[in-house]
């Protein structure tokens, strides 16, 4: 396992934490937590194999969060001195005092064992920030050049993040963590007459190091080699006839449907109304825990913060709670929610399952998504076997457009590629496909899930939630799945053409 970078450990982590926590204690805070973070990112983009832009950035700072007289208070700072940490503690207490008159709901937190001075580093081999920018550009430019000539244009991008966090609270928990993630993407574009289309790689963002681009975890050369012919076929494909179809959905598409219709819908803060004015609430209300028939009996969904290479995987969350794995849907029934310490206590659910996260030192930790994953069927079918069960249907690959309502009922998704299924076989690509459904109708129509051999961990860097807005990285594992009778739209007709 890699070690936490010495230059992060050399920062005055404990000195600042001690100063802030002592000041908060002196000012009468019931609870106080100190968090110091450095988030380093590098983003590069190329167009037609030429570097278009590159930016190496970091965010460094600390935050103090207190509970004073049952009210939250939060303040952050950027100057890494004990004096500044003390000022932030005072400011956080002051914010709590100013806010107290409009707080009618005293804040209490679920208990968590003390984790004294523990460390965790995510699973990666090569730190992407140790690889020269020139080498990264050459790699992406080489891949792009390999496509040009067979397509009109190629855009390529690579996002890399290293997140380092130090956390300490008044109870005695002290955690130090470091994790790395990458998101490479290439998109090929082509025009055929008046028709333009594009096709993006399916490689998901991952919690891996630079080895992801050199053969570990994904075969980029093999995927890229197929794209020009696939895009050519897509441009010539017939437009879909709107109607109801049986679908086989590939993990490269289904992860996003899971994210929107299960991941967000089973956040307890949403279900209880704490996000009502912004992200929304959830149809999966608390009174339906244990009874809601979320989907068919083949549906089993787990939330976890422990999956290797998962984007939401941590050792401990931003409230000092150990990363865990827990059931959300079992045999089609809602059995659990994602929790932070306040939500867990509020509903008497015992210990938090570790879903607190803040995306930067300037932001408050809030309940954020675990890696929420649909479980494969042990000994279950391959994707080809699922397709073979369909007489008339569509096989959907890759994600593209997505939208869902504020209670997570009604959604609409498109994809990268759509294949007509006729009599159990693929019969060429289709265009202009979107599928639209109500969450529970959709998951109840799931007849079968694929076996472990179809399981892929998809995900995104940019899950948005909260005000002020925060983004969180999250993965979703899923097998291929077979769903019956889903409404398919023709997007050109939807546009009134």
């Amino acid at each position: 396992m890699r070690q936490i970078d010495p230059d992060f450990l050399a920062l005055p982590l404990r000195r600042l934490a001690d100063a802030a926590l002592q000041r908060a204690r002196d000012l009468g805070a019931e609870h106080a937590a100190f968090r110091l973070e450095r988030v380093r990112s590098e983003t590069l983009s190329l167009f037609d194999a030429r570097l278009q832009g590159a930016m190496d950035a970091d965010d460094l700072g600390f935050a103090v969060r207190v509970i004073k007289d049952g009210t939250w208070g939060f303040a952050s700072g950027v100057e890494l001195t004990p004096e500044a940490a003390v000022r932030a503690a005072e400011e956080a207490v002051r914010v709590a005092e100013v806010s107290a008159p409009i707080n009618r709901e005293p804040v209490e937190l679920a208990p968590e064992p003390v984790h004294a001075d523990v460390t965790w580093v995510s699973a990666y081999d090569v730190d992407p920030f140790d690889v020269p920018l020139r080498d990264k550009v050459e790699l992406l430019a080489g891949w792009s050049s390999g496509l040009l000539g067979r397509v009109d244009h190629v855009s390529a991008s690579l996002m890399q993040v290293k997140e380092q966090k130090f956390y300490a609270d008044m109870a005695g928990t002290v955690t130090t963590q470091q994790r790395v993630r990458l998101h490479p993407e290439l998109t090929a574009m082509r025009t055929d007459g008046d028709r333009f289309d594009d096709m993006r790689t399916l490689a998901p963002p991952v919690g891996r190091g630079f080895e992801y681009l050199t053969g570990t975890g994904w075969d980029f050369p093999a995927e890229l080699a197929e794209i020009p012919d696939l895009l050519t076929e897509k441009l010539k494909a017939p437009s879909v006839e709107a109607g109801r179809y049986d679908l086989v959905i590939d993990p490269s598409n289904l992860w996003l449907t899971i994210h929107e219709s299960i991941g967000h819908a089973t956040e307890l803060d949403r279900a209880l109304g704490y996000e009502a004015a912004y992200a929304g609430t959830s149809f999966a209300t608390f009174d339906r825990l244990g009874t809601l028939e979320y989907g068919s009996p083949v549906m089993n969904v787990v939330g976890d913060r422990t999956a290797e290479h998962g984007l939401a995987t941590v050792g401990w969350d931003d409230e000092g709670v150990e990363g865990q794995s827990f059931d959300i849907v079992r045999d089609g029934v809602l059995v659990g929610y994602q929790l932070d310490r306040r939500m867990a206590l509020l509903k008497g659910l015992g210990r938090s399952n570790g879903c607190a996260f803040a995306d930067s030192p300037g932001h408050v930790p809030m309940q954020r998504m675990a890696n929420v994953s649909l479980q494969p069927a042990e000994g279950g079918p391959s994707t080809e076997e699922l397709i073979s069960r369909i007489d008339r249907g569509i096989y959907i690959v890759g994600d593209k457009s997505w939208s869902i309502d504020m209670q997570r009922y009604n959604f609409q998704f498109t994809g990268q590629r759509f294949y007509k299924i006729e009599n159990g076989r693929l019969a060429g690509q289709l265009r202009d496909v979107a599928y639209q459904a109500t969450t529970t109708d959709f998951w109840r129509s799931m007849e079968a899930v694929g076996g472990p051999q179809t399981y892929v961990l998809g995900g995104a860097f940019n899950c948005g939630k909260g005000q002020p807005g925060q983004v969180a990285p999250v993965s979703h594992g899923t097998p291929s799945a077979l769903l019956r009778g889903v409404r398919v739209l023709n997007t050109v007709q939807e546009g009134g053409k």
Partner: protein, 460 residues
């Protein structure tokens, strides 16, 4: 800024002096925020935060290197500049390379930074508390978010430019729900300092809408005559603006691409003389009057940093007038240099009516509150999908007669411009969907005779 960190002006001068590149751009951004979040008539979270970011863009020949760091101390400055210089020497030549704009200046360069604090809510917070009490006693629950941000941007270049802009950004979202959560209404306001926010009046308007919703009318999916209020229009027009990159249009990728090549600039989009424009000096929604670009991409260029911005028509007299350009893309497309500006204004013919007047003039139609979860389905038509939210009202014979279920829509804002039959009076508004990124808009309501409600959403 405290002594340990140095002033932003000192940081700019020292970084420029340290650079060994052919040219250099230094951007320092000092940020401060204060926020209150509430749900169910009580505060939920709050906070104050400060940020300080230094971005150094070194230019060697035709190549640029960008390094951006937070909370840089004076003793770390040389390392940041050296890293940017090194990145520029390692980089390939940039196709958008141009000489940096020559030494104009903007803003009061020498003045100190004045951050916001939690005190910005000193009048607002008690008023909000009173509204909580009033709502509680009337069976309503208030949800929402109030935020104030002040960002001071200092940009200096080796060509003598010293430009500074102080940007206050305030917003309040207020959402009222019935106690059983079955009825919901929303309003939002953009403000520079919260002194003009009348939370009691906003709450009263929401209470009226919750009353409208006591009569429920279920309608099926279909095409309806629809009045989109300014907030809904702002979200759609922001999507249009974000899709208006000249480079992508020239490459055939967007709704503004001309079939067979080139762009649609000059083409009529609407028979109504609609104007869509940006103006850094527009009263109430003023924004930075010069380009600030941290990295080059399809719509911005680091080489354009400091370029002066003026009022720019994107659509004029119903015709596409300009697209978002860098100097490089302007050369490629043969069009004017019209970089992106951080506000957006839409107007129609003189004499536009208020939303209330438009409702009074409606025989049968829908009045929306706002739109949500808007995403692009097809870039070539700019077909968007999304949801109605927090109040769809049925209008009959000039009056609201009840609340209708929510819908998922599939529509293109460009197509809507060609189909709209009325443009109302423009007013400052807060976009619902995009106000995390874009708050400075002045928009009218519009009437569309056949808005495509693709399916019913059960959400309320």
């Amino acid at each position: 800024m405290n002594e340990r960190m140095g002033t932003p002006q000192e940081t700019v001068e020292r970084a420029l002096a340290l650079s060994r590149a052919d040219d250099c751009v230094v951007i320092v951004e000092e940020g401060s925020t204060a926020n209150l979040r509430f749900a169910g008539n009580t505060l939920t979270t709050n906070g104050v935060a400060r940020s300080s970011r230094l971005t150094v863009i070194s230019i060697v020949g035709q190549s640029a290197g960008v390094v951006s760091r937070a909370a840089v101390r004076p003793d770390q400055l040389a390392d940041v500049v050296a890293a940017a210089d090194r990145a520029a020497r390692d980089a390939q030549p940039s196709e958008d390379a141009r000489p940096l704009p020559e030494g104009a200046s903007a803003g009061d360069w020498d003045r100190g930074v004045e951050p916001t604090t939690i005190e910005v809510f000193r009048d607002f917070a008690p008023a909000l508390g009173e509204s909580f009490a009033a709502a509680e006693s009337s069976g309503r629950r208030l949800y929402g978010f109030a935020e104030h941000i002040v960002t001071s941007t200092f940009a200096g270049t080796s060509r003598g430019l010293r430009a500074r802009h102080d940007q206050p950004t305030g917003r309040l979202e207020l959402n009222a729900k019935s106690a059983d959560m079955s009825r919901s209404a929303w309003t939002g306001v953009a403000t520079r300092d919260f002194s003009d926010v009348d939370v009691a009046a906003l709450d009263a308007a929401l209470a009226r809408r919750l009353d409208w919703a006591k009569r429920r009318v279920d309608l099926p999916a279909g095409r309806y005559e629809t009045i989109l209020p300014p907030s809904a229009v702002s979200d759609l027009m922001i999507c249009l603006y974000w899709a208006a990159g000249a480079r992508d249009a020239g490459d055939g990728r967007t709704v503004f691409s001309k079939p067979g090549g080139g762009t649609r600039v000059g083409e009529r989009l609407s028979d109504t003389p609609v104007r869509l424009y940006s103006d850094p000096a527009h009263p109430g929604i003023a924004c930075a009057p010069f380009v600030v670009a941290h990295a080059s991409n399809r719509e911005q260029s680091v080489f354009d940093n400091g370029l002066a911005l003026g009022a720019t028509d994107w659509i004029s007299g119903g015709s596409l007038a300009n697209l978002v350009q860098t100097r490089h893309s302007a050369e490629l497309t043969g069009l004017a240099v019209t970089p992106s500006i951080d506000n957006l204004i839409m107007t129609g013919p003189d004499g536009g009516r208020s939303v209330e007047e438009m409702v009074a003039g409606t025989e049968r139609g829908l009045l929306l509150t706002c739109l949500w979860y808007i995403r692009e389905v097809d870039p070539q038509s700019l077909l968007l999908t999304g949801l109605t939210r927090d109040g769809v009202y049925l209008v009959e014979n000039g009056e609201v007669v009840g609340e209708v279920n929510n819908f998922r829509f599939n529509e293109s804002p460009v197509d809507l411009l060609g189909r709209l039959t009325e443009v109302g009076r423009s007013e400052q508004t807060l976009p619902r969907e995009w106000n995390d990124y874009f708050t400075r808009t002045v928009m009218p309501a519009i009437r569309v005779p056949d808005f495509n409600m693709s399916t019913v959403s059960q959400a309320n």
